[in-house]
Amino acid sequence: MSDTATLADRHEIVVDEVFPHTLEVLWKTLTSPGMMGRWLHMEPTGFRPVVGTRFTYQTTPAGEWDGVIHCQVLEATPLERLVYSWKGGHEGNVGYGARLDTVVTFTLSAAEGGTRLRLVHSGFVLPKNEIAFTNMGQGWTKVVQAIDAIAAEQG
């Protein structure tokens, strides 16, 4: 997301790391349903690394949301890029289980000592109705540390 004008109301999460393994091995962990289930802790139903494929993840329900994440493969370039939509949540939820209409992009590239995997989870929009935190107490310090980490990642 390069358009700074949109950054005020839409935001993205970026995690970028180098793994000491080949592109082929990384691609397999990203696209084989059994492998995906082992590191994502939710096995996809109906996934194939083919553009247009619709699949789901089942996670913990919240409120009126059944916990199903609906995805569709938007791009699948072997050993390079896997992009899928990630939609779920419900209007009635705030925080966990809030309405999500996002996109997950995995990009692989050769790097010194292995393979770089860059994840971008984009399209987060500030929920309209936030519950006020009134009794955070000692949780504040942790909160600020968490933001520090997030801010550092955002660069």
């Binding site: 950054l7 005020a8 109301d9 935001h11 999460i13 995690v15 790391e17 793994f19 393994h21 080949t22 091995v25 990384l26 962990t29 492998m35 082992r38 590191w39 994502l40 802790h41 705030v94 925080g95 966990y96 809030a98 995997l117 994840l119 989870h121 987060f124 500030l126 929920p127 936030e130 519950i131 006020a132 935190f133 009134t134 955070m136 504040w140 310090t141 909160v143 600020v144 968490a146 933001i147 520090d148 980490a149 997030i150 801010a151 990642e153 955002q154």
Partner: protein
């Protein structure tokens, strides 16, 4: 919460280490004045005032004038959007990457 209190505004505001230190001091106090914040900080009162202004614009602090003093206090709601929502996903993906690293070690030692 003001219009400016978006996730991005909060993140940008707290990305500055000095401003974050000011915010942490406000958080630790019930209420605190600019003078109290300046003492022992190694930063000028003008700089502290600028940081407080930014924090206020981001919805992170509120002010209460009383006599010749202005008292500042933390506004917990200001952090809610970022922490409750996006923060949980940032943590989610960092943890998943750690698990991916473990899995890779197992299948491709």
């Amino acid at each position: 919460m003001t219009e400016a209190a978006t996730i991005d505004a909060v993140m940008r505001t707290l990305a500055d280490p000095t401003r974050r230190a000011v915010f942490e001091r406000v958080v630790r106090s019930d209420e605190i004045t600019v003078g109290e914040l300046t003492r022992g900080s190694g930063v000028t009162q003008g700089a502290i005032s600028q940081h407080l202004k930014s924090l206020k614009q981001a919805g992170l602090v509120a002010e209460r004038p009383e006599g010749r003093n202005v008292y500042y206090r933390a506004e917990p709601e200001g952090l809610a959007p970022l922490v409750e929502w996006m923060g949980s996903y940032a943590v989610f993906w960092r943890e998943r990457f750690a698990d991916l690293r473990t899995l890779l070690q197992e299948i491709d030692p």
